[in-house]
Symmetry: C2
């Protein structure tokens, strides 16, 4: 007897070759793929024979319940997230709501998150301690986001900004840069990766002062270097530490 199972799958930035071998295998083995419309559209051409159930932005709880219910009916279901399902993804909510579906076993399949795929496009910004901070204030007060930005800057950690802006949160990156400029210098090396692994992929290395006035959208990931991050031949490269071995 096969146990009922819901796979929660990180698809990486978007291209088939950026997926883990396991995630590609899991998607191949499933009957139904559930996800946010944009991610379903990314994956559909690679898995044309599957049934897709896509739901619009937000509505995460609805999407997760839908996937759990399909799995509870005995279907082999994959719920997809961009990047990794465990980094700002739906995996947590699946475990929370999954307690209501005790017959459904939950299995995660990992993927490459935007900090990694965007980092590789920009150079090597994350060679030393870093934090990932989402600028979305949908479920987190902006005061706490501000505290985290200051704490990271004051202790010289590289910062990766997820969800830097969206249509309803225009001006958030500028606000974040203004906070950071109170803690670190204007010339700090920064980078933006846009549409990583997708049509229109684009990246840019700049200073913090320039970053403040650079337009971004919800498909951008932003990197703020630490004091040892350098612009090497147009790439953003962070040193391995503060004491040289050379």
């Amino acid at each position: 007897m096969n146990k009922k199972c819901l796979y929660v799958v990180g698809i990486g930035p978007g291209q088939y070759s950026d997926m883990t071998i396991k995630s590609a295998k899991v998607l191949n083995s499933c009957d139904v793929i559930v996800g946010y419309t944009v991610y379903c559209d990314l994956v559909r051409p690679m898995f044309e024979d599957k049934k897709f159930i896509s739901t619009p932005m937000m509505k995460e709880e609805e999407r997760v319940r839908l996937a759990l219910e399909e799995a509870d009916k005995g279907k082999k279901v994959a719920l997809i997230c961009s990047g990794d399902a465990g980094i700002y993804g739906l995996l947590g909510l699946v475990y929370e709501l999954g307690t209501e579906y005790p017959k459904v076993e939950i299995k995660a399949s990992t993927g490459v998150t935007a900090a990694i795929s965007g980092g590789a496009v920009l150079g090597a910004p994350l060679i030393h301690d870093f934090c990932c901070i989402s600028l979305s204030n949908r479920l987190t007060p902006f005061e706490l986001i501000e505290k985290r930005l200051r704490a990271a800057a004051q202790t010289d950690m590289v910062i990766v900004l997820y969800n830097p802006e969206s249509k309803s949160r225009s001006g958030f990156l500028k606000k974040a840069c203004e906070i950071l400029l109170e803690e670190i210098e204007e010339e700090r090396v920064c980078g933006i990766a846009r549409n990583i692994g997708r049509d229109g992929e684009d990246s840019q290395v700049c200073t913090l002062a320039e970053l403040k006035d650079t337009p971004v959208d919800m498909f951008s990931t932003v990197f703020v270097g630490n004091s040892s991050t350098r612009n090497i031949m147009g790439l953003m490269v962070t040193a391995r530490g503060y004491q040289s071995e050379r």
Copy 2:
């Protein structure tokens, strides 16, 4: 005419299926694979026909130069790192030293880092803002590491500890826990993932007080939750934010 090229490849935690499709393809297409002995041993059974050049621990600069020189001779070379080469990996050093080998083009192929693979083993600890902090004081003064630990705890970020201990740094995790216990409560949900994706894989969810006295080694990755991290059916699960949508 083919340009000379050095691939810098993240192999993920260790199993073939946890690699990205691209990283597996790149390794397949190379003549020579260069890496730290332990990582070469992990990968060798999957790519038996390749020439392997392994170098012992530390000696990172030597390893990188060796790879660049092989590539400069016209060989198709992959330099491998565990996890992702851009997260505490050798990619930065490759770009730094690569300026001395102007004919060698450097290409990165991403992999799943221990924060992701370890997170998936433990549950979903990284659903909200987090930082990765290495406890190695080889190139970073411990005072700065301590500041980062306090800053992360004070601003309620989830913390992932890389390199929690090694033979020469025994007692470092205990020291880090003592610092964190001055900032956050004893019952904070924590987790340890050991030998992720390798023989002897093992994980454990515990409290911060328990973590303090738990033995770890250089193949362990440690997670300290934020105030909304819960132990759900033995898994470490962080909430998506502080305001509920339900």
